[in-house]
């Protein structure tokens, strides 16, 4: 009995082997070598590289990354929720909804480099809005080049965080049943009471979960920042770039691994929180 069961399982597992091998080679091994590379030095284990994370520049980059991610996650979540609320009354199959969700998908997921150039074209040195403001005697929008600093990144990141929030939050908003509102209203609730006492508490876990997702999204984002900021390392992803491209510098060897490891830890913590909140939401969102 046991034999035939085992043989059957093996035969059933065989077609899955290519998939597992592919993921082992191109996902698991790279991730493990980041972890391994950050705690090993010339074959023996050491915490030197991780200790280097507490040095001034690395800490500064981490703090700025956290700040950038937190600010754009909150702004993106609030404005994105409002935008989702504004478009939810159109049926999902309407042309309006299709166009809006397609735009949101493109901006949120596939923008990257293009979004950096979008803002360079708008408020860069010779940007369209900059030139217009100058021509009507308005303020100098370019200023001292704030677009290329963390302040600029907050603006540009917001441009992809709001659409991401719309995509993530729309299903939760649609999950609110009409009957719940009718029940509340028939019991004498005002619209305000419905939102603060029924819809609000129901949507809260979804909203918080989405905010965490936005945080992780901004924290791990690289392309937009890299295209916009060509020198200096204001944030963690750009510090990884420098460490990776200048490994010849003495003492920098392997530092990229430690920074990447730090990124894994932060994103993993955030995503665990996200997972817990999603599970809570999925209880009523069916």
């Amino acid at each position: 009995m046991t034999m035939s069961f085992t043989r059957g399982s093996v035969r059933n597992a065989l077609p899955l082997v290519p998939f597992f091998i592919f993921l082992l080679i191109f996902l698991i091994i790279p991730t493990v070598s980041v972890v391994n590379g950050s705690i090993s030095q010339d074959g023996s284990y050491s915490l030197d590289k991780l200790a280097a994370l507490s040095d001034g520049a690395a800490m500064g980059a981490l703090l700025k990354s956290v700040l950038l991610s937190a600010v754009t996650a909150v702004i993106g979540a609030v404005l994105g929720a409002v935008l989702a609320w504004l478009i939810v009354s159109s049926p999902p199959t309407s042309v309006f909804r299709r166009v809006v969700t397609s735009i949101c998908s493109v901006l949120a997921q596939f923008g990257g480099v293009a979004l950096a150039f979008a803002f360079i074209a708008t408020i860069g040195y010779s940007g369209v809005l900059t030139a217009w403001s100058k021509s009507v005697g308005g303020p100098d929008l370019y200023g001292t080049g704030w677009l290329y600093s963390v302040t600029g990144l907050i603006l540009v990141y917001t441009y992809f965080q709001i659409p991401l929030m719309v995509i993530v939050f729309l299903p939760a908003l649609e999950g609110l049943r009409v009957q719940w509102r009718e029940a509340a209203v028939s019991l004498g609730a005002t619209s305000r009471q419905y939102w603060t006492q029924v819809a609000g508490p129901l949507l809260a876990p979804a909203f918080l979960g989405a905010t965490l997702l936005l945080f992780a999204n901004a924290f791990a984002a690289y392309a937009t920042a890299a295209a916009l900021v060509s020198q200096g390392n204001p944030i963690l992803p750009l510090m990884i770039r420098t460490a990776l491209t200048s490994e010849v510098v003495l003492g920098q060897a392997g530092f990229a691994y430690a920074l990447a490891f730090e990124m894994i830890i932060v994103v993993a913590i955030i995503m665990v929180g996200y997972g817990l909140l999603v599970r809570r939401t999925s209880r009523w969102l069916q």
């Binding site: 998939f19 478009i87 998908s105 997921q109 596939f110 150039f117 709001i162 392309a223």
Partner: protein, 270 residues
Amino acid sequence: MSATSTGPTGWKRALGLVPFAAFFFLPLYAMADFSTRTIQGLGRTLNGWRNLIADPQIYAAILTSLGLAALTVTLMLMLLVPTMIWVRLRAPWATRIIEFLCLLPLTIPALVIVVGMRDVYLWVVWIFGESALTLSFVYTILVLPYAYRAIDGALSSIDVKTLSEAARSLGAGWGTTIARIVVPNIWSGILSAAFISIAVVLGEYTIASLAGYQNLQVVIVTIGKADGMTAVAASLATLLFGFVLLLTLSVLTRGRSQTLTPEPLDGSHS
């Protein structure tokens, strides 16, 4: 009335949408304006747009990115479709682990993968030679979460088991059952997976630039340092192409396709 009771309608809604429309369309309009400006500031020119084909560096990069998209889609479908169908039919015990692995790239940023993939790619380059197209292996990992959700959605909407039992009892082998019975029934999911993968690959910058390969986005950034007009034109072209791709998909798959709106932890920024 049912769908309208959650959100506002009519002029209130229109009024609320105005600031959002302004915020989102202004940069897009600026790109169109910027990319067609003449240096003297008089009139319009399409030189920036013409360069997308005329400039050999950009044109080569576009071809590279299209090649990468084609290879990635092929690899992704070859890897995912048989595996996911097989799990449903014969190996349900593997459902959770396959799902976990497919969604894992959402938690491991592309930036982390590129830092750690050096050793693996020494082997890849040794076997396949030095070519930007080798990136399609790691790109397959990047598109996995999106593709998984799309195909999983399509598989859930049909009764794979009954269909395949019917085919098998009529004498079809496993290969025939999968290729001629199941696949035609999950066509919309496969199409979604392919389209979204194309959009991800065409927008990818992180891995290509840090691994030292010249795909479209890498070349756009390089050119942007000297010729802003062409870089902006190329950027706008990428966004428009992505938009057309996703809108087409949304119309083709009709109905309430969940595949258009996977909860993403974005692939291209990270």
